[in-house]
Every structure is written in C-alpha cells, then in structure tokens.
Amino acid sequence: MPLLGNFCLLFSLALAVYCFGAGIVALLQRNPASNRLGETARRAGIGTFITVTGAALALVWAALNNDFSVAYIHDHTNRALPIPYKLAALWSGQEGSLLFWSWLLAGYGFVLRLRHKVDKRLFAYSSVVLAGIQIFFLLIVNMSANPFGIMDRVSADGNGLNPLLQYPEMVIHPPMLYLGWVGFSVPFAFALGALIMKYPGEKWISITRRWTMVTWLFLTCGILLGMHWSYAVLGWGGYWMWDPVENASILPWLTGTAFLHSVMMQEKRGMMKTWNVWLVFTTFMLSILGTFLTRSGVVSSVHSFAESNIGTWFVGDPTRFIPGFLPIVLLVCLFFYIKNRRHLKAENKLEALVSRESSFMFNNLLLLAACFAVLWGTLFPIISEWVKGQKIAVGLPFFNNVNLPAGLFLLFLTALGPLLAWRKTSWASIRKNFAIPAAFSVLTIIVLMALGMRPWVDAAHFYALTAFALGMLVITTITLEFIRGGRVLQGKLHANLLASMLHLLRRNTRRYGGYIVHFGVAVIFIGFAGSAFDKDTEQPLAPGQKMQIGDYILVSQDATIDDNANYKSYATTLDVYKGGKKIANLYPELRTFHISGRPDNEGQPDHIVANHSTFKEDLYVIYASPTQERVPVIKAMVKPLVVWVWIGWLVVVLGTVVALVPNAAPLRSPVAVAVSAPVFESKEMHPAGAVK
C-alpha cells in the first residue's frame, strides 16, 4: 500500500503539472486545437482528484490495517485506537494533513472542472490557477512531507493518536477547518482568472461570492467546532485562547467576512472592484500564511506540528535565492493587478458618509483592523526577536484588549447597516428607524443595572454591558426589518404576518439570510459577554463530602479507578443540588492514555468534562487530579450564557444556508423609466448579479 500511495502521489503531481502547463498553452492560443488541448487539461485536473483520492485511501487503508511499517501510521495510531479515530489519523499529523489538504483542493478542483459549462473560459483560467496551487502542495507531500515514509524497523504497535484528538468532534472539526482554508483557493482562482482575462461584466463576482459563502460557512463551522471542542475537552473552561493556530483560522475568516460585505457594493453599484479583488487575494494568502505559521515552528503554539523544514516551501530562502510559494503568489497577483488595473475602475464612488456603502466601508475597515491586530499580535514575537533579539510573548490579554472595542463597534454597525439606504441616508430617516431599537437598547442597560450590573467596577463588566445593549440593538433592528417587510407583503398576499415574513425570506434569501446571520452574531456576542461573570472553585472531594459554587451544591457519591486497553480512568459521581432540589448527576473523569514503550505506560492526561448546561448558565465540572490518597480533586465553574454561543452559531449556519438558497420567486424587475437627469446616464445602477 505505501508503494501504491507513493505512486498515486507522483502520478497526481504529473497530472497537475500537465493540467497547469497544457491549460496555459490552451489559453494562450485561440484555435480549435487549443480547445482540445484545454479539454485534456481539464480532464487531467479531474484525474488529479482521482489519483490524490487513491493516495488518501492508501493511507487510510494502512491506518485501518495497522501497517506500522509506515512511519506516519506508527506515529499517529495504535492497535487499540477505535476505527473513527483511525480515519482521523489522516489529518492528525503534518504529512497526513498536507495530503488531506491536497485531496480537498483536488476535490474542489474536481467540482469546479465538472461545472465548466457555467462559463468555459473563466473556469479554464480558474482551473489553471487551481492546478498551480495543487502543484505546490503535491510537491511538498512528494518531496518534503511524504506520508508514506517507511520505518527502519517495524514495531508491533504504534504510538497512538494524541488523546486530546480522541473526541467525536475532532473527527469533524479539522475537516471543516480545512474545507474552509482550502476552499478559499477557489474564490482566489476565480478572482485571479477574471483579472488575467479582464472578465467582462460582473458575473464572475457572483460566482465567486457563492463559493466564498460556502467556504466561509465551512470555516465558521470549523472555528466554532474547535471552540466547542476546546470548551468540552480541554477542561480549562474557555473556548478561545488566541493561540497562533486559532489566530491562523480567524485571519482568513475576517477578510472573507469583509469580502462578503464589500462584494455587495460591487454587485449593486460597481464600486470597490480593486478592493474586492485584493480582499480575495489576501484571504487566500492569509490561509497559506496560517499554514506556514503553524507548520514551520516560527511561532509557539499548543496545536503546532513539530518544527520542520517545510517553512522554506512557503516563504522561500532569501539567502539561497529560493523563492517560496507566498512571495510567488504575491508577485503574480501584483503583476496582473498592475497590468490590468484599468479593468477594475469603479463605476461609482461613495457619495455620503451616512449611507449603506459607507457602513460597509467602515465594516471592512474594522474587520481588516481586527485582522491586522491579530496578525500583528501573532507575528510580534518574531518581529521583536528580529529587532530586539528577544522574543516577546503576546497572549490573551493583548488580543482581548485590542479586539474587543473593534468587535463591539462592528456589532453596532451590524445594527445600523440595515437602516441605511444606498447612496445617502437622511438623519431624519435614521432617527425614525433607529428610535425603537435604541429605546430597547437603553431599556436593556437600565434593567441590567437595576439587576446589579456595575459597568464602572471593571472593564469586563463595562464590555459585557455594552455587548448586551448592542446585541439587543441588533436583534431589535433585524426583528423590526422582518416585521416591516412582512407588513408590506401582508397587504398584497392577504396572509398573516408570520406567513408574510416567511414569504419575504424566500423572495430575497440573500438579504434576509444575511439578517439571520447577523442575528446569530448578536446572540454569540451575548454569549461571550457572559464570561464577565464566571465563578470557579476547587477542592478535594471524597465520597460523602460536598462543595458549593454559586447556587449549586455538589455532593460526591463515589470515586472509581478503571483501566482498559486504551486508557486508565479516574472518575467520580456527583449529585448536584440547587435550592435544596437534586437537579443532575455529573460524572467528571480523568483519563490517562497508555503509550507503548513508556515504563509506567501512562501518557498525557485528558479531562472528560461534566457539564450541566442551561440557558442561564453552565455548571462546568472537571476531575482535576487525584490527590496522593486518591481523593478526587474537583474543579467547578459556573459560566453564564455559554450555551448562547452555540445557539448563535446554529443561527449563523441557518442564515448562511438560507442565503445560499436561490430566491423562490424572482424579485420584481425594475420598471423601465425614462430617466431625464443626465447624471444617471453616465452613472448607471446595476441590480444584484446583473451583467453589464
């Protein structure tokens, strides 16, 4: 199987090179023969997917059959590992995850090449760009990080999978994240392809937007699954640590989000073409930069793969004049931008600071500022080492302090945006539309302060109160938008308000799906704000003893120690009482996974968190460790509103799916109007998705 895997990888590389080379030649020559050549290039691209799939299957087969002659399988699996986690071995190490990356990229390319009839020429350009990216990753897996490396001596058992990865969500989280990261290659391929060919019209941008939305959805799911895994598995009670790997995932997400907003300005008003193209370029380059940061060992991270030499592939080696992938991509983008920049000339310009366009601009600036702050904080240790010779660590306090104000301002814009009209909005209209949401927001502040919130006590309380107030502002604005739209339709449809609102949603899925996403974001922020009121306590708890945290009393019933082939387990059973009434049984557990070759045969500990979750708060309990007398030490935390983070996430997913669904009925076509004013002759307006 390793031989077959290696053969598939080499053959994939050859096919990708052919797809790239023949594709370029076909695009440069415009004759019937070149069309046939282009078709062979497309088929070679499809073939790449088949051969990379063969390589991925060979690795999975080796994992399922305990083929410890393969070094990667030996390092990341063992015999006792359950089958789903053996499948997860594909992405649990450096070499495997790079193969997985190549496979996903080939998969995206496969779909793109199958759909070439949508726009043959644009898809041909995009196919060539994708093939270029594919070659890069296939070169790495063939030459520098080959997953089919053979052991000198075959062991009877492997090292096993990292215990922290042995959790159901871990079978879903990395693929989602990779689908997001890799997926940004497709919008990049379209944007670069459209720029190279000077694509006439705006159709390419609507194709790119849909691909970006799908990719963004995957990345959002990946990030949130990671947050949930961190919360449910790591046992520290948090969900975001601003670790460099987490930062690497949020960077393209931020620029991708910015693009999804600013693209509307291009579709509606032919503005920000250069900006949008560079947002897509930046998003792709950030996803590659993130990969470089986490795999080269230049930044310390709890997720990082071991330090390796693959960093040179990404950034090159200036001392030996070896160009890396990132500088090449940047140069290619710059070259074609400079060459064809006239094609990106905006048809309109911003006319007023108080307008929908302007709110998108500020939204973009804030998202990019947040992206820069995260990138700056992540790279600052490297920069400080270059400048001062000392690596200054940057962690949670810095990122929270820098990004919280930007996040809250973005939340404010989320509320304000829907109330602003395109081109220009009058203050009277803002006052009229904003009065009710603002009143609800002020009411929220009054009620929360009456309930005991004191924003002047510390910054966390101030930010929490602001988040609650702005969250309410967003929720009210969006609800009113639905009601307002529903009422307009109610008269025409003669249906009830709810049915009218549903009809409204189906008629303009993109707009109202977007509102649902914003609603979810507001709910997530409300969940985040709850962390200002966290409580925690810790104590040894022998059977029969009890401990108190907040309104909860935890009574220990028993303590057990168990051993199986995969791990040793320390567990305890806790009865939870609230107001004198038993409300739950919790079973916090500590597992120490067996590692072959270790004298004590016990490896890394892993907490199985016991969580009693309600809409109000989570009672989060972990078995911290046993004392020397084998008494369980229990750490309990009360974490208000955490569940709203996950609910908000589901709402975001729902909203994105709605936005991806085509409109049920086409919107009313604009009535042909004889426009008398000459200014409109020179500055036409293009409805969404219109081809000029």
Partner: protein, 158 residues
Amino acid sequence: MSWLRRLSVVLIVLCSCAPLALAVDVDKARYEKLGGKMQCTCSCSQPLLKCNHVGCTRSEEMIHDLKASLNIAKNTDTNVLDWFRHNYGITAVVEPGTEGFELLAWVVPPALLLAAIVLLVILVRKWRLNALRLAVAEGVTDVQFDAQRARARQETEL
C-alpha cells in the same frame, strides 16, 4: 477628659493604619495586574492567577515568586516581568509592556485603523464634492437628485 484622649489615640491609630490599608489594596491591585499579564508555564497556557489546578508543577511556585518580587520595594513592574521572562521563559509573560519597543505592539493596530478612517473620510468628502461640482456643472439640482434617489430606492429595494 480621658475619653477625649482615648478617642484621639483611636483616631491617630486609625489614621496611621489608613495608608497601610491603602498600601495593601495597592499591592493587591498590582499583584492582580501583573498576575493577569502572565500565564502558567506548565503547558496548560492558562492565565497564571486562574491556573489553580492541583498537581500543577509551576503555578504555585510562580505565584509565590510573584508575591515575593512584589515585596521587594525597588522592583518596578518592568523588573518583575523581566525577571519572570528570564526565569520562567519567554512564554511566562503574555502581554507586551507599555514602554520602548513593546509599546509598538499596542500603538500600531489602533493607529493604523485611525489613519484608515481619516483617509476614508477625506476621500468620501473629496468624491462628494466632485459629484456636486459635476452636478452643478450639468445643471442637476439636489431636488432632482433626491427624486431620482427615492425612485431608485423604490425600484431596487423591496
């Protein structure tokens, strides 16, 4: 007058204790401030003062060292943080300082955002003035603009 003397003594004692109490508060605040800038180096990556899991090989010792270093009068915050970096490794302190080169970490992101916003406002102003100049040159009044806007809004929005 003995009661008056006793009251004076009590007041003097209270007054002399006040700065002491204040000092305790200041120390506590400083302890929490500096503790918040550090993380436990046992690999749990939790903020130092929140890492209280039993069996942690580092946090207890680090907290002890933090308290001890705060008791040394001549130690400035920078000294304390540098000492931790030196003795517990670079990852012990996770917040850049507010002096010298480290200040850049804090200043650059907001400065860049501010510059971008100022640039945007200037650009929009310039574009708006250009559009108005063009409209005046072509004889299009604000009233006509508003009428066209209202019509466009009606036709393109719901």
